[in-house]
Every structure is written in C-alpha cells, then in structure tokens.
Symmetry: C2
Amino acid sequence: MIMLFSMDEKTDAETDDDGLAEVVTLGRDNPLRLDSGKVIGPFEVAYKCWGKLNRDRSNVILVCHALTGDHYVRGINPITGKRGWWENMVGGGKPVDTDIYYVICINVLGSCAGTTGPASPNPETGKAYGLDFPVITIGDMVRTQAMLLDHLGIETLFSVIGGSMGGMQALQWAVDYPDRVRTAIAIATTWRHSAQNIAFHEVGRQAIMADANWNHGRYLDHKERPHAGLAVARMAAHITYMSESGLTSRFGRSLQDRDRLAFGFDADFQIESYLRHQGISFVDRFDANSYLYITRAMDYYDLSAPHDGVLAKAFQGTKTRFCVVSFTSDWLYTTDESRHMVRSLNAASARVSFADIDMDKGHDSFLLEGGEMDGVVRGFLNSEADVMAEELS
Amino acid sequence: MIMLFSMDEKTDAETDDDGLAEVVTLGRDNPLRLDSGKVIGPFEVAYKCWGKLNRDRSNVILVCHALTGDHYVRGINPITGKRGWWENMVGGGKPVDTDIYYVICINVLGSCAGTTGPASPNPETGKAYGLDFPVITIGDMVRTQAMLLDHLGIETLFSVIGGSMGGMQALQWAVDYPDRVRTAIAIATTWRHSAQNIAFHEVGRQAIMADANWNHGRYLDHKERPHAGLAVARMAAHITYMSESGLTSRFGRSLQDRDRLAFGFDADFQIESYLRHQGISFVDRFDANSYLYITRAMDYYDLSAPHDGVLAKAFQGTKTRFCVVSFTSDWLYTTDESRHMVRSLNAASARVSFADIDMDKGHDSFLLEGGEMDGVVRGFLNSEADVMAEELS
C-alpha cells in the first residue's frame, strides 16, 4: 500500500545522490524586466543537476518544482534533513532517468531555498527585501530559468516536467519558448487559477498578514516570525492537497492517543493532530513572505489571458509534444481542467498524450511513488527519445 | 436569476414580522447534565416564535439554525440590522406557513445571540465564561431546546426542520426524542462530521487561537478582540459553503475595480474582495469563542457512534417520518452522504422522502429562495398534515 504523506523520512530512497548543487548570480549586467514592469538584478539562482550533459546538449530535462518545493529533487535536502521530493521520479533507472538525461531543477524566483526572494538581501539597502521584492509571475520564474540555461550554454530542453505549480511552469515554457522545448509534461495542474484556487490562497495570505509578528513583511528585522499565521496558511492549503475519500480512509474520525472525546480544544482527532503537524513543521523550512509572493504568482497565472481567454491560441503553431496527467481525486486542479487543456492543445493541432490516473490520494498524488504516473512519464519520454534517435539516424 | 450571497440586505422580504422574541432562564433548579459530564445552570435561552399555538398544541414546528445563525429567522435582526436568514422558508403562506403552524426557533447553547455561551457571564465569577464554558455537543443543544419546550408546555413537534447544523439537530431530535417528533426535515446535512469537515473547522479554530488578541479565550477582559483570526476562520469556512462552479460563474478571474493586475497584495480579484468582506463583516456579529465551541460540537457529532458506526441502528423502531434534502453542488455535506442517511433510514424501516436538488450554488443553496427546496418542504409538510387530519377525523 502506498503511504501518503509519511511524517517520517522516506525509507526506500537510495542513499547515493550524484547531484551537484550550485548557485550563480545572474542579471548583473542585464537586469531582468519582470511582467510587472519592474526590473530585478543582480539576483541569485540556486539549482541542482544530475547525470551527464551529452555532446550535442540534447539530453536536458528541466524539472520544475511546486509552491513549497525546491531544487532538492534527490538526496538529502540540507534545509530539512529529509530526502528529496521526487526521488521516485528522478534518478538512475527512474522514469526521468539520470543515466540517460541531464536533469536540472532550479529553485524558483521568489522562493527561499537559495534563489533570490523576499528574504534575500536587497542590494540597494543591504537588508532583506520584504515587501520591496517585486511581485512576480510564473512567466518571470520561467524567464530566470531560461537565463540560467543560457548561462550554462543549454539551448534546448528535451523535456520540461512538473506537477502542480511545476506543471504551470512546464506549460509556460512551451508557450514562451516554443523553439526551446521539445516535450512538456504537465502533471496535476491547470492553465489558469480559478476563483476557488485564488480563494484558498487568499485565506492563506490573510492568515499570514493577520499575524501580529508579520510586521508588514519586515519580520526579519525583529526577533519573532509570523509562524502562527504561516502554519494556518499551510493547514488550509494542505486540505486542498488531499481528497475527501483519502482523508476518510486514512483518518476518518479516529482519535489521537485517546479512547474517548476529551471535551476540549486539544487535538482529539488524528486529522487535527496531523494538520497541526503539517503547519508546525512547515514554518521551519519556509519563509512567510515567499509564501505570499509565490501564491500571488500562481493566482496571476492564466495562459489564456493574452488570447481573449482562448487557451488554444496560446499553443497555436507549437511543435512541442505534450503529456498531460491528471488524477481522478484531485479537486484542486481537476481532471476536467486537464481535459480542457487537452482539447485546447488538440484545437491548436498540437501532439498531446493524456492520462487520467485513478488514485484516491488527491492533488498530492503526483508526489507519490508506485503509481501509474511513473509508467506514463517513462513511456512518453522513451517514445520521444525513439523519435529523436530516428531523426538523427 | 437567483442572487447568491448578496452583500446588500434582502430586498424582496416582507416588512411585517409577527414574531415574538423572548429570553427565559432554565436549569435554575435542575441544572443540565451535558454529554461531557459537566453540568450547566442556570442558563438563558433566547428564542423567537411566530403564528398561533393551536388548542391541542399539535401545530408546532421547530426551526433549527446553522453554525453562525440565530433565532432571527424572520424580520429585522437586531444584531445585524438585516433581514432574517430564512424569510423565504418561514412566514405567512411560505412553505413553513406561520398562518398554519406555530413556529419557534431557539438560539443554540454556546452561541452568542441571547442564549448562554462562552461570552455570557459565568454565575460563579460574574465574568465571561471564556474557556471555562463547558464543551457542548449537538445533543446538548437539543436537550436545552427540549427543556424550553417543556417550559412552554409543548410536548410534541409536528416537525423539526433545519439546514446544515440545523439538520444535524433535526436528526438528533428524532434520535433522542422519538416520541416527540412527528416529522424531521434534514437539509444539506450529514449524520457525522467527516475528516475533511473536521479539518476545515480545525483550520478556523487554529486561526482564532493564533490571534495574539485571543488571549487564551479571555479577550473580553481586554480591549482588543481576535478579529483578524476570526475573519480568517470565516473566510476558510465560506469557501466550503460555495461550489467551484458557482464561484467560477459568479466571480471567475474578474478584477475588482481595476482594469489590470496591480502586482501587489491588495484585493486584485473580485473573489478576494468578496471573501475579505465576508470575514470583516462576520466579526461584528459573532463571538470568537462561540465559533470555537460550536465548530467543536459539530466535529463531535456522529449519530452512528453509539451504534458501532451503524447509522440505521440509531433510527431503529422510529415512527418519525423523515425528509432528506441535498444539493448536487454541495461538497461540504454531499449528496452521497444524504444517500447514506436515506439508505440507513430505509434499513431501519423508517418512512423517508429524499430530494437531491440540482443547484450549482453549493452548500448555502439551502438559504436561497426560489428553488425547488421550497416545494419539497411544502409538499412534505402538507402531506403529513393530511395524514394527521385523517387520524383526527
């Protein structure tokens, strides 16, 4: 049986990790113009890579991480001390096979695991940006990734793959850099944030900003952090990552370390204890302002907006081959939304594969191992590798 | 078109209101023993009633309110200055017809609209109870209602009706007082809180308790109230009251008073502005500790718990006739859950009518007027009135 959201470290992960973690400074001479119109630079970009770049640099796969993720896809994450978030997907012999591909994952702009974000020092003041950090978009994240690939001399991507916000980036890559993306794999994601998606994020932001320790974003100048608000934000979001049936089968109404109701406000139920743990453990690894900025970027995301709301127009003329994966129990980014993307890609005459995977673990199914998703990704990449081999032969 | 959650006062309501609001003190001589084992008394119970009690006292309908509701079903609510919450359902010529029935609604124990709750003075100290108020259950709420009916000399209920937590009370009445309940109408409700239901409530409670002004529940001794936390709790809950499709059709990604994204953390989107309004306006009318206590009562609610999880056993031998109403877009208490209740009632050989109403407005559909629900309730009550008339003839 698949264990969902194990509170312990992954036990089945490999102990080796051939990855290299790097941080480079970009935008020193050419600052990046953001979608907001503001410019940023210089800024740092943290990334990690595995495998070997082949001679014609045609074997690069860019892995894009989700809202609270980072570039520690494999190996021990130095921030959390835990194993990487996608070891089941990326590695030697894994679906994204580091024996074949040169795999790179980049911490997104605005985050807090090495790439510049609101907790980083503002070059103009020497103090943390806080709310002086510019509001960013998924497009801005992708632009910084393209700058890094330019810096590394990598022109094209064999594939760009991601789940949730990572899938948004994969689609944005295909739209913004159609000539650089051979294939794009978008898992458990959407083409635009819905009103309900925005609503849940707004609750999280309000929880953070309601925390007296948030101090209008200047908490790093003080002793206290807005941990309580950030924990509430994480708890609210976490519910959306799990399915109702998954919660019922895992927790139901089981009590936590007691035989009967305690008639108080401690965590009587296991689900309460679990959620509290999710909130409390999150604040040690994530910056509250980064949470504001990245959720904002996701809310702003709408690939159809520049095309009068017609998503197909965003992909018109694309040569990229797409793989769309959804999960039946994902109510955050639903199967219906993936179907709309597939229909739009069809309307744009794009090549697209679609898998709707029957799992009851909700949105976070994309992080779990042992599922049908591994085979879908492996098969999709292998078939495109065959196509490329034929082209070269 | 039905307007959902109008921010304005209802405009189509009648201006007359023949109701009488009363407050009585109960439990002075016989304190109430609660499910927790604690006792409470004396305590006050606020209620309102409409229509005329007939000679044999057989025309009483008890209306039960939801989590944040009160006994102001009709007429101007003196706390909010707005019209009552169920004027479309209750009144002269309405489905719950005050020309025929004597209708009573009682503010639940633990609430804050007149009935004793955590903001009320503790007789032992003279100060507000705060967290010294005992944790209560849906069963306790129903027991106080039965005490009030005893006080009023009302033995039997022609019907007990409610939506959401009101429906929980209606079912609890039928279980706990089978000889006193002729019919029970349970709308948009469930027989037990699920893990997901508990999870959303726990987020709300944590948001309140994370507010520095909450002061471990003793905020009434200080100047400030935990308004920020309570507003966040309300926002999170409010999302669960609306359907994804309802949110999309009403708000979508429409911007609030602006032509383009503002690249900041103000309310860019209408859905954000709407949610913030829901949060801010809620804190003026509701007590934060009452929110803790009533959500706790709902989480503790499980009619099947005393029967090894077999709901049918709770209704075994019942003579009450039931009407169960669900809404197709309600993802808080789903149609599937109502179906389970209907199947359990069938298994208990109870008489039950079931209507699953196709509306896209989510859980709060039960508060909206003009829907199919009105006809279902009217027809159910009329048919039972015919049965009773035959019995008497």
